[in-house]
Assembly symmetry: C2
Homo-oligomer: 219 residues x 2
């Protein structure tokens, strides 16, 4: 047993894990199993599965955004900050939970207004973040933008999103470092700054990709 507030956090975390593993078609039982409780316990805290899924997805997005926000806060140099935020936005492997979550939502957004709003909001916030970095660089004289900062910011976030999908789909040659390089190439062109050569940026919460898990395929 646990207090409702604590248990809700557990359930959201379990839902995120189950979501990353089974996609948007997760079953209540799968979440219950991930949480180590019965399905009834979940329905004690949430009116229905949809309510929990929305909370889990929202929390996952917030984490994806805030994590990066914190990790670049201490970096003073705009160029390094830009390079770092890009490398943090690309999934390291097809098993990245956060990005898997986001990818599975992309398709839902067409039919579910809530998810559409959440994704749109995340995109816009990321654009704002990038735009801030770009303009900081301009004011410090290190960036010489070839295009408007909004244009560059939008395109950078778009590239990040798209390569996330490619990596989640296990593109045979387009892996993490090539994706980062591709985005950086555009960033160099648009900012007139050589930026850093892409070096492996350590992630705060290393994904658990050490153990190879048995894969379950549909059909």
């Amino acid at each position: 047993m646990a207090k409702t507030s604590e248990r809700k956090a557990d359930l959201i975390s379990a839902a995120q894990r189950a979501l990353a593993e089974h996609g948007s078609a997760v079953r209540l039982n799968q979440i219950a199993e991930a949480a180590g409780v019965s399905s009834g316990a979940i329905l004690y805290h949430y009116a229905g599965i949809d309510e929990l899924l929305v909370e889990a997805n929202r929390a996952g997005m917030e984490r994806f955004y805030n994590e990066r926000l914190e990790m670049i806060a201490s970096i003073p140099d705009p160029a390094e900050r830009l390079e770092r935020i890009i490398s943090l936005g690309v999934p390291r492997s097809a098993e990245d939970e956060d990005v898997r979550l986001l990818c599975s939502l992309g398709g839902e957004a067409a039919r579910n207004t809530m998810y559409a709003v959440l994704l749109t909001s995340l995109y816009d916030r990321q654009v704002g973040l990038y735009q801030g970095i770009l303009e900081l660089g301009v004011s410090q004289g290190v960036f010489h933008l070839a295009q408007g900062s909004l244009t560059i910011a939008r395109n950078l976030v778009a590239l990040e999103d798209a390569y996330g999908y490619r990596i989640i789909a296990k593109h045979p040659t387009l892996d993490y470092s090539s994706a980062v390089d591709l985005i950086l190439e555009y960033a160099r062109l648009a900012t007139g700054h050589a930026l850093l050569t892409s070096k492996p940026a350590s992630k705060a919460h290393p994904r658990k990709i050490t153990t190879i898990q048995p894969r379950r395929e549909n059909q």
Copy 2:
């Protein structure tokens, strides 16, 4: 009644329509209704619903690719060809069937190898297409690439994909023409060519967006 070969084409078409409307969680009955037959009739031609869905998705991708291939074949100027293929790859509205289909597959690809392979193949073919146009432009002296043609091609296709998702998610300000403009801005920068000002390119098969359909939301 119809011959198996003809009926299969009908069913694939119906499945595509149902897929665009209901997403990857389409029901057999929904496809049957779209095709105007009973669910049993579908199972007469296909062993299961998954088999039909794979065929429908594959055919949808082929159409998405081949349609554009044909429409630019008659355009001699590389710059105009590039501009045209970009404007044809971005969905005109959130109701675009082809792109809705592709978006709903993006999330599935994480768990379904078949869809992952199909999407990867589509991406690579599009990249090849773009790369060919870029190098044609170079050989004619109209493009002066600021980056490798593979880099530019990959980034252009990635941008196209990402803005497709934004439009499907009904971004309030990022509509068709702004998305095309954003991609063209990168294309200009990377090719050193002013390209064309984005003018509305007529699509071969105008989507049926004239009638406003009642929307059904989840939750």
